[in-house]
Amino acid sequence: MIFRACGIAILVLGCMSQEKSILDRWQTGNAVFEIRITEYEEKRLVLSKFRYVFEANRSGSNDWREIMTAITNDDIPIPREQVRFLDDRTAYMFMTDKYAITTNGGDSWSVWEAKKATDSLQYPGQPFIKDVNLKPDGSGTLILVLYSAEKQVKHLQTEDFGHSWKFSNQR
């Protein structure tokens, strides 16, 4: 009985507090702007989650601004290959269900969330961006995998650097 009462107390406390600690950090950039990703462990009652915070900064300054945050179930390496510069002013990045793009040297970012885009589907499952391919003219493709009892693969297309994505019929 005492054991169960302790369990209840811990559950309540565990849900209320989420201790965070830095696990890893990586930084890249060009002459105009820099991007860094910091991985945090977020302790929860039963399983930790892992938070990857993407930030940008004018090169040479130290004014980091958050772009987006991706959360994973496990401690995985920072996805360096998923941060891509197309030229001095254009870069995009993606992780889990998030995608972000800048076309003005990091002054502003547009963030696209696959989860919101798939809300209209009957049951989307866990959306996961497998790959993005963007061309300098702003056209591109995105492969989205929806994890559920019946895994689905969706192909999306953009003509505006990924500010918006549309489902395509490609299989």
Partner: protein
């Protein structure tokens, strides 16, 4: 090595690890569950963290991280995005179901996953772990054998019996 041999058999490893834990701790359910939590997750039980020097495949900086575990061999409804360690996830929720009342373990699961939809792979696996913990016969020191077989059948989806060493 328990993890990282590149084979698509993470679920088989889970079933065998359950069996091995049963053997190692003489079938004592409390010690078996504690051993699984300490060896395969970051938690030591209801209280505290596991020792990073002894756990396997949990955190990248751990000595025995290897290539961790994945979701190979798990039924499709339990497979999450790439690099999800479903061995860790199953054991964590099995441990939660064992250590705290099932109703609270389920609420913790829904809270941590931010959904209660059983079609979500993490929710589905967590619910299966909690249910198996609830059914685990703590008065029977041979029940770990049934648990290993049940993991093999219901989590890995295999119809043949688990061949035990």
């Amino acid at each position: 090595m328990l993890s990282g041999n590149g084979e698509d058999d993470d679920c088989l490893k889970l079933a065998l690890l359950v069996y091995k834990a049963g053997q190692a701790w003489g079938g004592d359910p409390i010690r078996v569950v504690s051993g699984l939590l300490n060896g395969l997750t970051e938690r030591a039980g209801v209280f505290g963290d596991s020792d990073p020097n002894y756990r396997v495949g949990v955190m990248r900086r751990d000595y025995y991280y290897g290539n961790s575990f994945g979701s190979g061999g798990f039924l499709p409804q339990y497979q999450g995005p790439p690099r999800d360690n479903q061995v860790r996830h199953f054991i964590a929720w099995f441990g939660a179901g064992f250590n705290i009342p099932s109703v609270l373990a389920r609420q913790a699961l829904y809270s941590e996953e931010r959904t209660s939809d059983p079609r979500d792979p993490e929710v589905a696996l967590g619910l299966a772990g909690i249910q198996m913990a609830n059914d685990y016969d703590i008065g029977n020191y041979d029940s770990y054998k049934d648990l290993a077989q049940r993991v093999w059948r219901e989590i890995c989806g295999r119809k043949d019996g688990l061949k035990l060493p």
